[in-house]
């Protein structure tokens, strides 16, 4: 995918990746071998008919391509942008064994963007069943579950606690990776199938639990909204943010445009971001756009970074300085942040997952300090505890996630869950995949109760 020049993109929050021109998309589509047993589809959590839609692009029949994708995925413009295709469909593409895999993600995005510009054709929905489904959370999981239930003809009500729909797509992923008008557009498409959306509604509070459980089926997709902190000294100084807070201030509340928008954010002249995942990359790149010099502190080696390779490259191009094999031990200052003290880490033998275990170095030179005025902790999120704890009899795992079977069934018969609240923090597409399965189970259950 083509990218805008780093010096240009640091000036704004517009999208970095520019997408494929039509000619290129068609040529790329022609590369697909059309495998009789396509491995790419196995690699896709929502099982899109990938050879099918690519074949339609090759025929320059983009309308059909869109129709094929939409059978399995109502959010293609989103997935085409944020899916880790290299580890999914493209990772299993047969062409990748000797050459480069087909750029499936870029093609998905091309089709979605084409459809958005040329008019969306709403998918067919089944006749109304009269069954009521409540969907809690309007992030990738909730929207996906809602679309599947709507297509089965059920009446769907979505509850969202924030003032805007989209969950992590709205508050978490920055606009330069996921433009907000596109998020809104794809969500609108789902709502247009007839869903009712209630913003500012906190289920368990604005919607009492008994009211929720009175629906014929419930899907919980409340996400991994609880930020973890490192529990180090100085963590509550002014200028220490969770990535969630920092990103929410900018992405949802538009603090980058303060004072035109009311919400402020400390821009910082030197910012330390702690962590090595996609959220850490997002935070670092937002901080760069706010004008700061940015260090990204990660306790393992650069090659161990869990973030997508593309995002690491973007961060490097945008001037984020990586400080690897280092672990923060203390935040200095008070009441404002003045620095961060780190210990150098040695890489030791690998753990069960095959990753080397970092151990703190000892002796002279094993600690160092960075002068920073803002610290952003991006070390992970846990399941949002608010609702799950309020539903009597809902079984939860050790970390507070909702326990589900393969089809998203919880310990309560008509309650289902999917996305990060069930699986723990994962990706947008995994959340959608699990939500799709749960919605299929809901649709099955409602069909069965009908025939009884």
């Amino acid at each position: 995918m083509n990218r805008r020049l780093p010096e240009e993109r640091l000036q704004d929050f517009k999208e970095v990746a520019t997408g494929l021109p039509e000619q290129t998309a068609v040529l790329e589509a022609l590369r697909c071998m059309g495998c009789p047993r396509p491995l790419c589809v196995d690699g896709c959590p929502v099982s899109i008919d990938i050879p099918g839609f690519i074949n339609a692009i090759a025929d320059e029949d983009f309308r059909t391509a869109a129709r094929i994708i939409k059978q399995d995925n109502m959010l293609p413009a989103i997935c085409g942008r944020v899916c880790p295709q290299e580890a999914q469909c493209q990772g299993t593409c047969i062409l990748g064994k000797k050459d480069k895999p087909v750029r499936i993600g870029a093609l998905e995005r091309f089709v979605a963007d084409w459809e958005r510009e040329n008019g969306v054709e709403p998918p067919q929905t089944a006749p109304a069943t009269g069954k009521r489904v409540a969907v809690v959370g309007s992030g990738p999981a909730g929207i996906t579950a809602a679309s599947e239930c709507l297509r089965a003809g059920h009446q769907v009500t979505i509850f969202e606690s924030l003032h805007e729909a989209g969950g992590v797509l709205t508050y978490g992923i920055p606009a330069f990776r996921m433009p907000k008008d596109i998020v809104r557009f794809e969500i609108e498409q789902v709502l247009a199938l007839g869903a009712e959306l209630h913003l500012n509604h906190i289920v368990g509070r604005s919607v009492p639990v008994d009211e929720l459980l009175a629906y014929d089926a419930v899907f919980i997709g409340t996400g991994a909204g609880l930020p973890y902190f490192m529990s180090i000294e100085g963590e509550n100084f002014s200028g220490v943010y969770s990535a969630n807070e920092f990103l929410t201030r900018v992405n949802l509340m538009h603090a980058d445009r303060f004072p035109e928008f009311d919400t402020p954010v400390i821009r910082g002249s030197r910012v330390a971001v702690i962590g090595g995942g996609n959220v850490a990359m997002d935070s670092a790149r937002v901080a760069r756009r706010l004008g700061a010099q940015v260090y990204l502190i990660y306790r393992r080696r650069e090659e161990d970074l869990p973030a997508r390779q593309e995002e690491v490259e973007n961060a490097i191009q945008e001037g984020v300085e990586f400080v690897c094999c280092a672990n923060p031990t203390r935040i200095l200052g008070g009441p404002e942040v003045q620095g961060i003290e780190c210990t150098r880490m040695d890489m030791c033998e690998c753990d069960e997952s095959g990753r080397p275990v970092p151990r703190p170095c000892t002796g002279e030179g094993s600690t160092f300090t960075l002068d920073v005025d803002v610290v952003i902790e991006a070390i992970g999120q846990g399941p949002n505890p608010l609702l799950a704890g309020l539903i009597p009899g809902l079984k939860r795992g050790r970390r507070g996630n909702i326990e589900v079977d393969e089809d998203g069934r919880t310990s309560i018969p008509h309650v289902f869950a999917g996305g990060d609240i069930a699986t723990g923090a994962a990706t947008v597409i995994w959340a959608m995949g699990s939500a799709k399965k749960a919605a299929a189970a809901i649709n099955q259950m409602l069909a069965d109760t009908d025939s009884e």
Binding site: H163, N200, I202, R205, L226, N236, S238, P259, D262, P264
Partner: protein, 279 residues
């Protein structure tokens, strides 16, 4: 959009708004709060639920910052963009015996709903309210009705006891006439007032008011240290045991955006002059 049903100025620069929000009033209880956003450019600010009536919720605020001044400029019948809630954990209302509810400044507004719930649970409730001067006192009549007894204090002696609610609280503690107390007001007032019950058996609750963004436990902006542990005021609180609170940390964190708040207010006034709509 949520409509402003009623708007009153109830003290110097202090306003009560009744806003139609059935999703809030359905389960909203003492100790809980709402998060409001005035318009598309607005910030999310938390405000304690002061009372509910039917489908309307009352919020009370002093017009000191950009958002509260903009809010105060709205008229009855106009609407605000968002109101989310009820948020936070309700007050620990049960039969304590003898209770006191203490309000300082705008914090007084949090007392009516609490006093009523405590009364309904079979408690004897004394209200103690304090402000710098008479002009800043609010909701006296309502509180006189909600409490068994109401004591008024002013710093300058312009009405009631010349002094602070802490003085009255100390007397009550000395008389062993108290089982539980709620202290709600500015952080410094809550800190100092709560000294009166230190090393006593009187359960002492305070309602903390750190900076919040989402108010649902998602961002951690409102983290406070309670008994050496980090808690999120928005979901674990906002009410906590007064004697476990790290007050200095709370007050430091409240000052995080002092500069930006000033800038925001200046920008608001400049803009007001330009557009000429709000004069």
């Amino acid at each position: 959009m949520y409509r402003i049903i009623k708007r009153n100025q109830i003290a110097d620069n202090i306003y009560e708004f009744w806003i139609n929000a059935p999703h809030v009033t359905k389960t909203g209880r003492a100790g809980q709060f709402v998060v409001i956003r005035i318009d598309e450019h607005g910030e999310r600010i938390p405000l304690t639920i002061s009372a509910t009536k039917g489908e309307d919720v009352r919020i009370v605020f002093m017009a000191v910052g950009k958002t509260t001044q903009q809010l105060a400029a709205l008229e009855e019948g106009e609407s605000i963009r968002d109101i989310a809630g009820p948020l936070g954990t309700p007050s620990e209302v049960k039969k304590w015996g003898r209770c006191a509810v203490i309000g300082g400044g705008v914090g007084i507004a949090c007392l009516p709903i609490l006093a009523r719930e405590l009364k309904a649970a079979g408690n004897e409730v004394t209200g103690i309210i304090g402000a710098r001067n008479e002009g800043l006192l609010l909701l006296e009549d309502e509180l006189r009705e909600a409490c068994d007894e109401l004591v008024i204090c002013t710093d300058d002696g312009s009405k009631g006891h010349h002094g602070y609610p802490a003085d009255i609280l100390k007397e009550m503690v000395a008389d062993k006439a108290l089982d539980a107390v709620w202290i709600i007001g500015p952080a410094i007032m809550m800190k100092i007032t709560s000294f009166a019950t230190l090393d006593t058996d009187v359960r002492t609750f305070v309602s903390l008011n750190p900076i919040m963004v989402d108010g649902t436990g998602m961002c951690g902006s409102c983290r406070v240290t309670i008994g050496g542990e980090t808690k999120f005021a928005c979901v674990d609180g906002p009410e906590f045991d007064a004697h476990q609170v790290d007050w200095d940390e709370l007050m430091n964190r409240q000052r995080t955006y002092t500069g930006q708040e000033k800038e925001s207010l200046e920008h608001y006034h400049e803009h007001k002059c330009e557009c000429g709509e709000h004069q």
